[in-house]
């Protein structure tokens, strides 16, 4: 009996040996993200790698891929081997599930807050002194005002921008879909350049000096002021904007095949930790954690925000109506 027990113990240790050996092996994750998250994930990746090394002894390297959210989703569907995606909007991740079959339909229920560890909103960035006196959305359709925003066909941020403008028009007294369409059509008539992603639009506005106002993620606008100084730009918070929820998920099929599923889950869960939330706030994303949000309350003024579900019936419907081929955006842009 004792011999049998010893044999069983030896077998157990033997069977664990490869796992331990694997755990020590350096591993690489690929995070496919949208345009303006470069600075955020640079710091998150470093912090997570340090925490993971301390916890497991394993060295982890996280590679990043950035681009327009819709374009990034298509790359993953086409075979880019992402362990995780951190995209600008849920519809793009839905596409990875429905078209690529790489994640289950309930992916958004797997992490807290609809798998959105931080939020943001859409604001207006203008040049210092606000020479065109832009105060709110209607100022963007005035003659002589040049507006910079990216292409909603390729950029998630651009879709949030578009929907925020549409929602404002809809919420005006007597507002309806026709008036909202007319308003957004006028707005896009003032757009001289459509970049593929939000970071490209920031470059157009900030570095190339084009346009009078940039419709931007709040985090991107705050970053521009931090990087270039408050003497160059200022933020205009519109009377109404949209709650932008950029979600995250593990790409199950890829992570399973690469054997990185546990690590990828831990990486995304790290975003919800106080440390991860601090980093999000530091990089101008609105944190979900109440304590961290309270600490950064001065950075994020309270705004009147609508949600995609309230006004547009969710992303699937909004996408089909506005951004699908032949949708409202195509009609608007073709009529320019």
């Amino acid at each position: 009996m004792r011999t049998l027990a010893l044999l069983a113990l030896a077998c157990s240790i033997g069977s664990l040996w490869p796992l331990r050996a694997d755990a020590q092996k350096p591993v690489t994750l690929l995070n496919v993200s949208y345009d303006p998250t470069r600075e955020l994930y640079q710091e998150v990746n470093q912090a997570f790698a340090t925490a993971w090394k301390a916890k497991t002894g394993q060295t982890v390297t996280i590679r990043m891929s950035h681009g327009g959210s819709g374009k990034q989703a298509r790359s993953v569907i086409d075979g880019l081997e992402a362990d995780v995606v951190t995209l600008a909007l849920a519809y793009d991740i839905d596409e990875i599930g429905t078209r690529g079959g790489l994640i289950p339909a309930n992916w958004q229920t797997r992490l807290p807050d609809n798998s959105t560890p931080y939020t943001s909103t859409i604001v207006l960035l203008v040049r210092k002194g606000n020479p065109k006196r832009i105060k709110d959305w209607p100022d963007l359709v005035r003659t002589g005002v040049s507006v910079i925003t990216p292409n909603p066909k390729t950029s998630g941020g651009a879709r949030w921008n578009y929907l925020a403008a549409w929602a404002w028009a809809l919420k005006q007294p007597g507002g309806d879909a026709a008036k909202a369409k007319a308003f957004v059509t006028s707005l896009y008539k003032n757009v001289p350049v459509l970049d593929a992603g939000a970071r490209g639009s920031t470059t157009t506005f900030v570095e190339r000096g084009i346009g009078d106002v940039l419709i931007a993620w709040e985090n991107e606008a705050l970053l521009a002021i931090k990087e270039l100084g408050p003497d160059k730009f200022e933020i205009v918070f519109p009377s109404l904007s949209i709650l932008a929820e950029p979600p995250v998920t593990v790409i199950d099929k890829v992570a399973k095949r690469k054997g990185t599923a546990a690590l990828a889950n831990a990486y995304l869960e790290f975003l919800y930790t106080p440390e991860g939330q601090e980093l999000a706030a530091k990089h101008f994303y609105r944190p979900r954690n109440a304590a961290v949000a309270a600490k950064y309350a001065r950075q994020f003024p309270r705004l009147s925000l609508i949600t995609i579900d309230q006004v547009f019936g969710g992303w699937t419907k909004a996408q089909k109506t506005h951004f699908a081929d032949g949708g409202v955006f195509d009609q608007i842009y073709a009529s320019r």
């Binding site: 040049s146 001289p192 350049v193 190339r208």
Partner: protein, 459 residues
């Protein structure tokens, strides 16, 4: 010297002076719209410049992901921008005329034939893996001539599986479109044509040394197999060196030499005796083992079959030279006789020369001046000549082969003229004379005087 101001000009100046602002404030009023206009123009320039940047980005992105389609002398090719995926559709077609001159005994039948009609579909999947499918519709017998998959893991290591040319005969390994004569020489009659198997091959030291080793079902000399008639298999291998290859175009010559061979066992049966035969330059059978469908009257391959071929080529300037010496040893038996080893052998020495100055090569060539009568250019002309011989050991006669119908030896000489109109179009004419030892009821089979023509297109 100053010129006097005319009265009219003076009035004009006075009028203009009167319209100019008379104070600093008024000057500022004028300057403001000018500054705004300048700012607008500057914005326009920046917008145009940014649009140009974005267009360039889009063009770069499109080039990165665009599928390249090319149509040209290499056929129709689709290629992904990263080169990992490729599909080529090509092929070649050869229409021959065969004329047996002074053929009083009607040993050959003069005719026009479609010698080869081979569409080729080949490609690359996932960067490392190539495939090729080549059927042949020539001579009225549609068949899959080649079909294989190859993993190119490294220049020094490729693994191929399927149906293809075993690495034995030098001229067999030369593409049918690059031959200097309408028909290959006698040594090719003693090596496999196509066989099913797998092979490892590669180039070492930048091609200085090439190797190939493969295991095949095993086929008779000049044989072509899809399935195996016995459990026995055949090993084939080749070592080949090109000592000047690293010097590129500064090399004194394109010299290659090596040795190849095969070793295996074969067990023939009454339906498929698996024995070999010899053909004349005009593709008429001049030697065959006895076969009448009965055990007593049929010679079978039964035991070891071994081939060995030293081989070499030399191309220098417009001159080309190719030589092979092939030995093929067979173990045969008939009825209840003991198995006997019979040696077949063949050699050829072939030379070619471009009258129009092209650089000769083992592979295809592009004429310096393609055929274009309006421009006064006529393509490339190439002269070719060869001598060759093939024989079967005396031990084959008379028990295993009938000396009244099978020759023991064939000697032949050939002269030819090739007109390369373009890389894809070639006309050939050969005259061959073959003499025989034995092969007739009395004495020798009459000499064969064979005229062959070919029209070839390849793409």
């Amino acid at each position: 010297m100053s010129r006097p101001i005319s009265g009219l000009a003076a009035w004009g100046i006075a009028l203009l002076w009167g319209t100019l602002p008379s104070s600093g404030a008024a000057q500022q009023d004028t300057a403001r719209p000018l500054a705004e206009r300048l700012e607008r123009l500057e914005q326009q320039v920046r917008i145009l410049s940014r649009l140009q940047e974005l267009a360039a980005d889009s063009a770069r992105e499109a080039a990165r992901t665009r599928t390249l389609v090319t149509v040209g002398s290499d056929g129709f090719t689709l290629r992904s921008a990263d080169g990992n995926w490729r599909l080529r559709v090509g092929g070649y077609f050869q229409a021959d005329g065969r004329y047996y001159l002074k053929d009083r005994e009607a040993l050959g039948t003069s005719s026009l034939i479609i010698r080869r009609a081979r569409p080729i579909v080949e490609g690359t999947v996932f960067h490392y893996f190539d495939f090729r499918i080549m059927p042949d519709f020539g001579t009225g017998q549609p068949t899959i001539y080649e079909a294989y998959l190859e993993a190119r893991l490294d220049p020094a290591l490729a693994i191929r599986a399927g149906k293809f040319k075993p690495p034995v005969g030098l001229e067999r390994l030369q593409s049918a479109t690059d031959l200097r004569f309408v028909e290959r020489g006698f040594p090719t009659n003693l090596v496999p044509n196509r066989d099913v198997g797998f092979m490892t091959s590669g180039d070492l030291s930048g091609g200085l040394l090439s190797y190939a080793v493969g295991l095949f079902n095993g086929v008779a000399d000049l044989g072509f197999g899809d399935v195996d008639g016995s459990d026995a298999k055949e090993l084939a291998a080749r070592l080949f060196t090109q000592p000047f290859i690293l010097q590129g175009r500064r090399a004194p010559a394109d010299l290659g030499f090596g040795i190849s061979g095969s070793l295996g066992k074969e067990r023939g049966n009454l339906t498929v005796p698996a024995t070999s035969m010899l053909r004349t330059p005009g593709q008429v059978t001049a030697f065959r083992y006895r076969s009448n469908g009965t055990a007593a009257g049929t010679t079978l391959e039964d035991g070891t079959r071994a081939r060995l071929e030293p081989q070499a080529y030399l191309y220098r300037g417009s001159f080309g030279f190719l030589a092979q010496y092939t030995i093929s040893r067979h173990t045969v038996r008939r009825d209840t006789s003991a198995a006997v080893r019979i040696r077949h052998q063949a050699w050829q020495i072939a030379a070619s020369f471009f009258l129009t100055g092209e650089r000769a090569s083992f592979r295809s060539l592009t004429p310096k001046r393609v055929f274009d009568p309006r421009a006064g250019t006529w393509g490339a002309l190439e002269l070719a000549a060869r001598i060759q011989e093939t024989s079967v050991a005396e031990a084959a006669f008379p028990y295993f082969a009938d000396p009244a119908v099978s020759s023991q030896r064939i000697r032949a000489w050939t002269v030819g003229l090739n007109w390369h109109l373009a890389r894809n179009l070639k006309l050939m004419i050969d005259y061959e004379r073959a003499t025989f030892l034995g092969g007739a009821a009395t004495g020798d089979r009459p000499p064969e005087n064979f005229l062959a023509t070919r029209l070839q297109t390849a793409f």
